[in-house]
């Protein structure tokens, strides 16, 4: 399968090739948006999506398997193979596809994976989702729908494992529905290294009235990866989105996002910290939109990048689109090198320059890692960061 073969095809032609109904809502939206994205597409302007779509991939069979009991949810090549006992997890067609997502691949992904993995998070749960990939030269495409319950407080830890995933394209994503008066925390840790795989993660997060969502991504591995987030906030809803990115060699990774304040008194805080080495490219292309109906919004957006090599390049594009006067909003972006005064201070106490440099990079990342409340998980993320950072440095 070569996705680029589906360029400039009509709805009927695509429906026939994919063997799905031309009335499929996701497929219709995909065609309406102009089909496959190119470098001219807004969402992929700074990301070489065309070379990924041009790859020859094996199509996978997503036949359901018997789900064994385990401590964590394991999704292997788009199929659930293990889950904790008592968890409501099943396959179902997705009824609540976003009507206006900015990413055409969000719709293609839905069209090609019509029976989504649905997870209903009961009570005050803490779950771990492991995405496991064992297929090389494959397109691995799946969608997950997550629901929680009102007045409940849940946490999802998301991890990735890749045994054999060379030259594969992973397209996955969530449609999350955060219920009223609840809080929902998602901590994503992506550390798969040197596999020459690519990942496009297109998410939609709806945050209901007086609910709060924390979405923290620690993106520490992979050659080409983009997470595309669309977040909608209802009245008094809050999102805290934090992204830590570490890149080296010729990796291209980052975040493209839209946070939309739909109703009044909603708040958002988005922060990106980017550490770029080698000839890598980091992307933070993030829009906060405050609609007419969202009076008394508070929105903060900030991106900081440290370039460790002269060939490293950061695209940082924080944007505000505001239609009201009654709000507090700020955004900012800085890109620079390590602070020479800080470096000198450490050296003046006897710490060698190489060690001081590492200390400052880890310190930059630490301010985000230390916001993880669970100490075991915080330690795990620190270890993963040390592993990828020191393996490169040494």
């Amino acid at each position: 399968m070569r996705l680029s073969d589906f360029k400039n095809q009509s709805l009927e032609e695509l429906a026939s090739k994919f063997d799905i109904s031309p009335n499929n809502k996701a497929l219709k939206k995909f065609v309406e948006m102009g089909g496959l994205p190119s470098k001219k597409s807004e969402a992929y302007r700074y990301f070489d999506v065309e070379s990924l779509l041009d790859g020859e991939y094996e199509s996978l069979d997503y036949t359901q398997k018997v789900i064994t009991e385990g401590e964590e949810i394991v999704i292997e090549n788009g199929v659930i193979i293990s889950a904790p006992q008592g968890l409501r997890i099943y396959y179902e067609s997705c009824e609540q596809i976003d009507n206006n997502h900015f990413d055409p691949l969000y719709y293609l992904s839905h069209a090609l994976y019509p029976r989504t993995i649905k997870i209903e998070v009961d009570g005050d749960a803490e779950l771990k989702i492991v995405h496991r990939f064992t297929k090389s030269y494959a397109i691995i495409n799946y969608r997950i729908v997550l629901f929680n319950q009102a007045n409940r407080h849940s946490t999802i830890y998301e991890h990735f494992e890749g045994e054999l995933v060379q030259n594969s394209l992973v397209m996955y994503g969530y449609d999350m529905h955060i219920a009223q008066d609840s809080s929902f925390r998602v901590v994503k840790v992506q550390t798969m290294q040197n596999q020459n795989y690519s990942m496009l993660a297109s998410h939609k997060i709806n945050i209901a009235r007086q609910a709060s969502c924390m979405f923290k991504s620690f993106d520490l591995g992979g050659d080409h990866a983009l997470q595309l987030l669309k977040i909608e906030l209802d009245e008094h809803a809050h999102i805290d989105a934090q992204h830590l990115l570490y890149l080296n060699a010729e990796a291209k990774r980052g975040t493209v996002s839209q946070i939309i304040h739909k109703r009044q008194n909603s708040t958002s805080n988005q922060e990106a910290k980017n550490i770029l080495d080698g000839a890598s490219r980091g992307i933070f292309d993030a829009l906060i939109k405050v609609e007419h109906s969202a009076k008394y919004t508070k929105a903060i957006q900030n991106s900081k990048a440290i370039l460790l090599h002269e060939k490293a390049y950061m695209v940082s594009k924080p944007q505000l689109e505001i239609y009201i006067d009654e709000l507090e909003a700020s955004h900012g972006s800085t890109t620079g090198q390590l602070d020479p005064q800080q470096l000198f201070y450490l050296q003046s106490r006897g710490i060698p320059a190489v060690e001081a440099r590492k200390m400052l990079v880890i310190a930059f990342a630490n301010t985000m890692m230390e916001t993880i409340r669970d100490s075991r998980h915080q330690e795990l993320i620190r270890n993963e960061f040390d592993k990828v950072f020191y393996s490169k440095e040494n």
């Binding site: 000198f344 201070y345 450490l346 003046s348 106490r349 006897g350 200390m359 310190a363 930059f364 630490n366």
Partner: protein
Amino acid sequence: MITLDIQNLEAKIGDKQILKGLNLQLEEGKVHAIMGPNGAGKSTLSKAIVGHYDIEVLGGDILFKGKSIKDMEPEERAKEGIFLSFQNPVEIPGVNNAYFLRTALNAKRVHEGKEELNAAQFLRLMKGHLEELGMKPDMISRSLNEGFSGGEKKRNEILQMLILEPEVIILDEIDSGLDIDALRAVSEGINKMKDGKRSFLVITHYSRILDYIEPDYIHVLKDGQIVKTAGAELVAQLEEEGYDSIVNEQ
């Protein structure tokens, strides 16, 4: 015995030459105070001794116990035993104060051929010094200088000095921004280090700190050179007559 011997030192920052043939010798176990008007080159001198990147040495030499340190990296000078207490210590969010100090101490101990301290051994050492300086225990876990008051930053400099046990201690405007209580605590920490072996170079605008740290020598720095050296009695003269009178005597 001369610990630090600065010979005909010339140095510039950017395009501007600041030090113009400066000569200064620090004696073992003595407190030397450098005083001088704004722009005389006091801070440039301290930065030149520790190897700050802003400074370009144009000529002369700096000898530490007879060995030239002029071309050494800053960390090598620190490990040899030279310590600068900064006028405005930089904040480093994300670097834990205790972790930073243990790394620094162990780098020095390895340089000296000693065994590294483990975390428990180091914490015992640090806690003891925190109590002496009247510092809060949360200094162990806080990020290096982040959100510290002016007094806390200066006390943290002294804490580092107590732990690293350097042989030449340069105190750049250590009294600036300190209230009386903080000044007293900082001075006590410094005086505790006076053991007849260590040399001190106290850089100051005002004589107030010298009420607490009694100097053996006063050097007046003007236009990049030492223009007068005398005993502690010079402080009173400077207080009464100002720097111009000293310069005009020359």
